[in-house]
Symmetry: C3
Subunit: 342 residues, 3 copies
């Protein structure tokens, strides 16, 4: 197995062929509602530095469908708090170093999933994927990224699966995806929007990012996405006027994220996110500007802040289907990493 | 399958025939200590808004005995906090709406158990089973009530199973069950006492409720129980003098619950519960008034507040057997909802 | 089965023959990476009064490798808080008595593991193993000690397994084990060092305990270890000069623990542990005094307080191997207690 496929840490290390093969497997797993004993006796460790509903439950269920088991580790909640700084003199409130924790989990588990959100305080640590990369360095078993500082590849794959279901997998180039920023009471990481952009571009959709100037995500990541889009022949469009962006959209993906200003000026960032751009909430009137678009969101979603009840409760909303797809893509990922067969 | 049997949400929707068939199955499961693979690959989601020992562990074990798996979701403890109000503008501290959470869990799990205790602050929400009914509305898979605002049907069924074991299932009409109120430092919901009354009446026992005037449970529920008892030909007796109630009892079930005054005057309610009626603690002297009665309690129990060590540690106490029966009735419920065979 | 082998509560109740047979099984389990269905349908309850990483995950994995399931109970975290005092009037903040909790878990689970650390406040309760012994008294199924006040037998067995791997199981009498005390910001129990001493002595190693005078562990336990060592013909040496102790060592086991002064004078104890003896940190210079010794620690370890990065990251460090051995000895223990076959 090529190094690139040892871990499911970033979509970047997996070719389009690899990822579409995973999606084809996921389609099959969903249609067959597959449950077998192919991973009996295997254990998937799931290390959560942050809360989770869908990710945790869908991986527990994915494992169970193959006869495998999960072990949930939440540092500081029944388990030891973890130090991540190299060379630290550990005389404070952190009980164990991540270096030991990950090496030990590697000896117990057959793969390790890890969720370590963006700090939103240390840009360098976030953009260099400091925690995820330490874990990969110390692990002797496959690592699955359950949302790192800058990426949520399992979400990206579930979204790609949903794009194919909603628009047909042969015709994606003819359809327009709009990822629109939305207000939110909390500063949220950019991992999901970055993965949505990568999935949309690599799926071949016409991708428009609708957001205020200050909300344009990480320059480094946007640079790569522009290159990817240009190679695909469909440039990535950034549109600061929401209504203009929505015109002709076939899929509208709403999501809030914090401006990069959060690192330098969190008070200003909050002001922009909750007050200045409060009118970016997606509602029925805005949806009427689209080409009868389907609605997507990664969940959890703040009703009537990110998007109105009207949009979420309409037949065009696909957010539950999208969440369900998490299960099926993750089963495909486990099959690949553990070399399971049907 | 008739609509009534889709969920195990309330004993009300299940006929006496259905429930006694479940108890017969539970008896068989207990005698055979059944473990098989009939539910291999299935996952039972367990959503806990409140703490649990017996309910959680007994469902984990019940599932495991059939080869199934559980996934525990505790909003706010590793998982997102959940909003339950319809139409809420979610700009506060609740991260996800129960509408999305339950729909998503329905796509992952093969059944969902939910524990959502009484609020003891909003009588209308409690008496209308606001949260449980939302969950049933949003779920596409069977829902099991793990104690809602006004009912604990799994406890009721375990208690009914215990009544049959203690008194013989042919002779229940000849035996007297006394459910006696007891003091407690905390205001507790009425779900358990209401389920005990329903189970006792439907089991055909002579049921006496012993409690101070202010502790008589919800009028709406008591009205239904009086009707049920009258149909069965053995009226439900309410007795405000504990010693009189205990006379001739074959089973004494002790339990504390909050007076309905808790909604309007929580300070007065506390005064009654902890001071005025402090002498309602069940002790050996009171037990000597009975017909050598067996003792029951749903657990957890406050020793020497609800009931003395003397009563709990005597051979006549059946509270551990009663707790064990939770496992077996729940295995029978899973068999029914999942259509499993021996 | 002899009473002594009903529980895995203390190494004391198991003969050298029994324990070395367990280690031989563990060696085989490790070399074969055994996974089978021999315990399918069984449930191991794990009751944690204190945090855990290795112990919890390694038992979850051990059970899964045999097709069994675990149920984790953490009093006060999703489960009820537990009262342990006999005769208590439970009108405070403890919701359930351990007497009921353990009896009930015995009816659900096929074995119960329990972690209840030393109080470090009540010497009598600690030295008499008050909580562990209550649990054994109330349990009807095998009890496994996951670290009690004064003992951590699963750790002791993993350490013994590691001694055999590092030095060869035929030649242990020719090798010197030094257990050296180390500073730490928190007062830690003596359970691990006491189990290390017992394992080292019973393995037949030449054991030296290196610690400041005030850190010599419990008199009662040290008395028993001196007897054990004398019976084996290799006296237990206590050395208050760390450099002298390390000379000629083949294995250096570093560990911090609180002085027994913690019961009478916690402030003085803290002063000794964090300031007076701060220079007991194990570093590369000290390791150079040894016979190219291998390094061991039970984990979690405070880097650069207990031991330096240099020692932990060197090829001579065996702490990860030691942690892995937890899994294999615990699988051997489950096989013994549940009478499983390969």
């Amino acid at each position: 197995m090529a190094k690139a496929n040892v871990h499911f840490d970033t979509m970047k290390n997996w070719s389009d062929e690899d990822l579409t093969a995973l999606l084809d497997t996921a389609d099959l797993l969903k249609s067959k509602n597959t449950r077998n004993t192919s991973a009996f006796g295997k254990v998937l460790g799931l290390l959560f530095f942050n809360p989770s509903l869908r990710t945790r439950v869908s991986f527990e269920v994915a494992a169970a469908h193959f006869g495998a088991t999960t072990s949930i580790i939440s540092p500081g909640q029944g388990s030891w708090t973890l130090e991540t700084r190299t060379g630290a003199v550990m005389d404070g409130n952190k009980t164990e170093h991540i270096k030991e924790a990950v090496q030990v989990l590697s000896r117990y588990c057959d793969a390790i999933g890890v969720r370590a959100f963006s700090t939103l305080r240390d840009r360098d640590a976030d953009e260099s994927e400091f925690i995820l990369n330490q874990i990969i360095q110390y692990a002797d078993v496959p690592v699955i990224n359950l949302e790192s500082a800058m990426e949520h590849p399992c979400q990206g794959m579930a979204d790609w699966m949903t794009f194919r279901q909603l628009m047909g997998k042969q015709n994606l180039k003819e359809h327009k995806l709009v990822l629109t920023w939305a207000p939110h009471p909390s500063a949220l990481p950019q991992a999901v929007p970055l993965s949505v952009l990568e999935a949309g571009i690599r799926a071949g959709l016409q991708v428009t990012l609708a957001c205020p100037e200050e909300m344009i995500p990480s320059t480094q990541y946007m640079h790569r996405f522009n290159q990817l889009a240009n190679i695909g022949g469909i440039p990535l469009i950034i549109e600061k006027k929401q209504s203009k962006a929505l015109s002709g959209a076939d899929i509208v993906y709403a999501k809030s994220w914090a401006s990069g200003l959060v690192y330098e000026n969190p008070l200003l960032e909050k002001q922009l996110r909750t007050k200045t751009y409060r009118n970016w909430t997606l509602d029925g009137e805005k949806m009427s500007l689209t080409n009868q678009a389907r609605f997507m969101h990664c969940l959890p979603v703040r009703r009537n802040v990110v998007v109105t009840d009207h949009v979420l409760d309409a037949a065009s909303a696909a957010h539950i289907q999208q969440a369900e797809n998490r299960l099926h893509v993750q089963k495909a990922i486990l099959m690949k990493l553990w070399n399971l067969s049907f």
